[in-house]
Amino acid sequence: MKAVFETPLYPYQRHADQDTDEPQRHHVVIVGAGPVGLALAIDLAQQGIETVLVDDNDGVSLGSRAICFAKRTLEISDRLGVGQQLVDKGVQWHLGKVFCDTRKIYEFNLLAEDGHRRPAFINLQQYYFEMAMLERVRVLQQQGAPLQLRGGNKVAAVLSHHDHVSLQLDTPDGAYALNADWLIACDGATSPIRQALGLDFVGRVFEDNFLIADVVMDADFPVERWFWFDPPFNRGQSALLHKQPDNVWRIDLQLGWDIDRDAEKRPENVIKRLDAMLGSDIKFTLEWVSIYTFQCRRMKNFRHGRVIFAGDSAHQVSPFGARGANSGVQDADNLGWKLKAVINGSAPHDLIDSYDSERVYGADENIRNSTNSTDFITPKSPVSRIFRDAVLDLAEHYPFARPLVNSGRLSMPCVYDHSPLNTPDAMVSGPSRTRPGAPCVDVALCDGYLLQRLGGRFSLLLLNIDSTIALEDIDEAIDQVVLDASLDLTGALSERYLGSDSQAVYLIRPDQHIAARWSTFDPLAIASALQRALAGGSLTCV
């Protein structure tokens, strides 16, 4: 049987654009149909923005790569119409165990807080994530969404002009040219577009190699995340075992720096290592094996005129903490509504600059976290090794040391605390987790979940606000979501959104981040907060 990632899902087809004398111009061209390009394309298609998505390939990610998808990604996927499919297919896990040598030094439970529609994490092969997105693209196309997907189209040249970008695409039928008002480079860590434009991509390479193997086996290991420091089967190095759907298990083995990569990749050598880890009585087959060196780096800026970088092309992290695809999907979520507002003329171009400042901030947070994890897992100096081992030894005996053990900090959504789009917090004692800049926290209501009612457009969340108030004063571009205490079954709504106040008004962006909040209803304040959220920092005083 052919693996899914060997099957062409959107094979090259000749397009009329290839037969015109003059290059055709499109509103948005997205390069790269990985998780990030697909997420952005779906978002734009749902918003009715004309988009062409091109990829030099015609299928899903070769091999699994990303396997952990975080709650925020699932919430964004809900808005994109694929969340349920991902959760149905994915494996849910809660328990993580950390071993040192042969001893279990502690375990942690990702105790999920009540009242969230989605779990903290699911494990799912990246190719399933992409397949779900591709199916969604097809559904949107059938519904008439202005989205084209062109496989076998390879970007060979890019030229940036002040009000558009021109591209050359290579296809099996030869090259053709296209123009785009906006070019979104979701073309991965090696980004040919970034290189063609001669842009920087600086950071740190970790001098270490990791063998990543996905194996198919019928083993009754529990559905838990197991992480080893210095196990007998991989002395002085680390190891990870994690379950994916279809009896596929992800195994990561740290190999060190001075290795013979070709020899390590040979199946007989991989099998020898896996036998040592799993026990020779366990039967398995290799689905995919690769050797990686990890880097943490980002571009200085993600926007360069009409060219915008998103996902791995803009920033790259080591996989500890599962932040690559998860943060890239947040890029797409952040960019989609801004592009729409600018293309429709409801916001100035400066709004796109706030994509740069917000997501550069997010990338720095992710790089910091995954650098910390990598430094803990692979200490790079004798003294960092001494402290690392001291933490592990203490963790076995004393609870205080367990939070210091860092085998990957799980990805959490970014709070844009200093965003130019935020209006200063006007709720004196509002809960900190729902302050301006934060993504909305989900809550179970008596008829569904809060996040199901938000997103796509600006929303005004009115909590316990007297409904006789003149809501017609509010801009029609804003959805109104009126909630009162009777819907708040568990008290979580009031705990997460009111604090000690009795009522509140929240202005929520299309990406479900909070732009402003008040404890009273003031149409003028709302109008100016909306203006600020669309101005992208070009508004200096309000």
Partner: protein, 66 residues
């Protein structure tokens, strides 16, 4: 709270003696590991990041002399 850099241990000789005694019979590597564990335990007891930052700085000596 500020980092205390004046005498604060009632029986300094006792503490110093106990500290050295704890290293008795340890190899260099074991001593380094022991010290690291001790720093982590004491750091957790202090808890306050600001005081810890002062302590990290104070231990450099150089920055005190300027």
């Amino acid at each position: 709270m500020r980092l205390i850099l004046n005498p604060n241990i009632a029986q300094p000789d006792q503490f110093y003696g106990d500290l050295l005694a704890a290293h008795d019979g340890l190899s260099d590597a074991e001593s380094h590991a022991y010290n690291a564990r001790l720093v982590l335990i004491l750091g957790n007891h202090i808890g306050d990041l600001e005081i810890l930052a002062h302590a990290l700085d104070a231990a450099k000596l150089a920055s005190l002399k300027e």
